[in-house]
């Protein structure tokens, strides 16, 4: 091929071929570490479930009108989403960027940062959708009644997971060192995790904390999961929760792309 006129074809944004490439890379890599990942993503919440269910459950039998095991068994879905969404995204992104130089290789192929971030976010979302159901299934063994609404839980967990995954990528894109994750973890994620209505209802909290928790995506995830399992209460209220989760996912997604571009394209 001595001389060539390049065909004037313009490749678009968010192409399926590029997203598929990123996803294939994730899936093939996952095949080499799915055991440890699945172990920590499912055993952690199960331990929380059993510890709170039995420990706390022996002190209180019902909370906010629910059996405690039902209350915590549904609430913990959101915790799992946080654990299996934000944390793998934070650490995974940082390691791939800083130590494995993976993104250099991917961006040298016909893949843009937007596709890279979206693909990785989607893959983590798929995992959180699956892992999120696990503690609920365990809760069924301990007395949570199965319901058709539970079929919606993977989708709610997946949507929230997409938001948290992108939020994690955003944190990693801003991080100078892996140690700086501690600030986010202790300063933001842990308080959010506790004040989401997972283990205790937020009604008992001071007003300011109740107001704040309305800005906590985990709270909206918990409410939506609980309502899906036990029956939706008010259409408007639940649409509100859904809208918040969608908005959170969109904002986190764009933030992740924006900051990854700053990091990866010099």
């Amino acid at each position: 091929m001595a001389t060539a006129t390049a065909p004037r074809r313009r490749l678009g944004r968010l192409e399926r071929a590029a997203l598929r490439g990123v996803l294939v890379r994730e899936v093939v890599n996952y095949s080499s570490f799915w055991r440890s990942s699945t172990f920590s993503s499912t055993i952690d919440p199960t331990i929380y479930l059993l510890a709170f269910g039995f420990g706390f459950g022996s002190l209180v039998s019902t909370v906010a009108g629910y059996d405690y095991i039902d209350f915590v068994g549904t609430g913990i879905v959101a915790t799992t989403v946080l654990f299996s969404g934000a944390f793998p995204a934070m650490y995974g992104t940082f390691v791939k960027y800083q130590f494995q130089h993976t993104y250099d290789a991917i961006l040298a192929a016909p893949v843009d940062t937007e596709e890279l971030v979206t693909g990785e976010g989607l893959w983590i979302a798929a995992r959180t959708g699956t892992y999120g159901c696990f503690p609920m299934l365990v809760a069924i063994i301990f007395g949570l009644d199965p319901s058709f609404g539970m079929l919606l839980v993977p989708f709610i967990a997946g949507l929230a997971g997409f938001g948290w995954a992108n939020f994690g990528i955003f944190i990693a894109a801003r991080a100078k060192s892996i140690e700086s994750f501690s600030y986010w973890q202790s300063g933001l994620l842990t308080p959010m995790f506790l004040v989401a209505g997972t283990f205790f209802p937020i009604d008992g909290l001071p007003t300011w904390a109740q107001v704040l928790s309305n800005f906590n995506p985990l709270f909206h995830c918990v409410e939506l999961v609980r309502h899906a399992v036990f029956g939706f209460e008010g259409v408007l209220e639940d649409l509100g929760h859904l809208a918040f989760l969608v908005a959170f996912a969109l904002v986190a997604w764009r933030l992740a792309i924006n900051f990854m571009e700053k990091r990866l394209i010099l």
Partner: protein, 296 residues
């Protein structure tokens, strides 16, 4: 009509107060191998990254395979292969899985994927290590795998960033044979390197970079003839004596370069008054003369 696989004009890239690339022009004609030669910090890596739009220019123009960067960079990337300096293979995957993943990233059609992977394994001579994890490969094998990965989609342009850095001499020669074969098959190649011998052996043309600029362009032989003459005289002695030799040579209008223990007098063709070892000039002489820096 485009007749260069890569064309850079007036490329400038600054990082804060540092100008990494400072008005670089560069051409890689189709079907040739061009070497980008320069000491560390000359701007080679920044230039290589600009070709995949991982570095966005402050000034200047880049065309790759007729596509304007950065707007049409994705199309350009679809048709070129990149072999990075740093090993960025997926360590816990096997050789074949690494190729499989990139056959998707490089959009090799489904029906051709297995054939592309087999062909890449052949090129890299890694058929027998197909199922080995990358962790278990030697440095030379990893580098071959990196090259194979960049060739999965049969690109017509290959970027090699320091392809043999840190490898044993015999492994380096194997890779040279591989690169030479690709060039003979018509693949256009841009290779950054600071190994002079590599550039001398493989490249049709070299661009010598210093402080972000191109200081010489041409076929290695021409550059040697032009800047260093045909013969160098190597004079050994005490530092004091070397100083005298240098002064004497300069007075006669010859160029000199200091190595650790000797002075090389260049461009002294045919002069027999100077005592010293005669040797054939090489690209390293040109390099040191033009960049003012010794290379490892």
């Amino acid at each position: 009509m485009v007749n260069s696989a890569i064309r850079l004009r007036g490329v400038v890239k600054r990082f804060g107060g540092i100008t990494a690339v400072d008005g670089l022009d560069l051409d890689v004609p189709y079907g040739t191998c061009v070497g980008l030669l320069g000491p560390n910090g000359a701007g080679k890596s920044t230039t290589m990254k600009a070709l995949t739009a991982q570095v966005i220019l402050d000034e200047g123009e880049i065309e790759v395979l007729g596509y304007r960067l950065p707007d049409d960079s994705k199309q350009a990337r679809a048709e070129m292969g990149v072999v990075p300096q740093l090993d960025n293979l997926d360590q816990s995957l096997t050789v074949e899985q690494n190729l499989q993943v990139f056959s998707h990233l490089y959009r090799v059609p489904k029906a051709e994927r297995q054939a592309a992977i087999d062909r890449a394994l052949d090129i890299a001579n890694l058929q027998e290590r197909r199922t080995s994890e990358v962790d278990a490969l030697s440095g030379g094998m990893r580098r071959r795998l990196l090259i194979a990965r960049g060739l999965l989609h049969q690109p017509r342009l290959l970027l090699l960033d320091e392809p043999t850095v840190g490898l044993d001499p015999q492994v380096r020669q194997e890779l040279w044979a591989l690169i030479d074969r690709l060039r003979s098959e018509g693949v256009s190649i841009l290779m950054s390197t600071h190994y002079i011998e590599e550039a001398e052996r493989l490249c049709d043309q070299v661009t010598i970079m210093s402080h972000g600029r191109s200081v010489a362009v041409g076929p290695p032989r021409d550059l040697i003839a032009q800047h260093a003459g045909t013969e160098a005289i190597e004079v050994y002695g005490s530092p004091a004596k070397l100083g005298e030799v240098e002064a004497e040579a300069r007075a006669k209008g010859w160029s000199t370069r200091r190595t650790g223990t000797s002075v090389s007098i260049l461009h002294a063709n045919g002069d027999t008054n100077v005592e010293g070892e005669r040797r054939i000039t090489n690209l390293e002489d040109v390099f040191v003369l033009l960049t003012g820096e010794e290379i490892s």
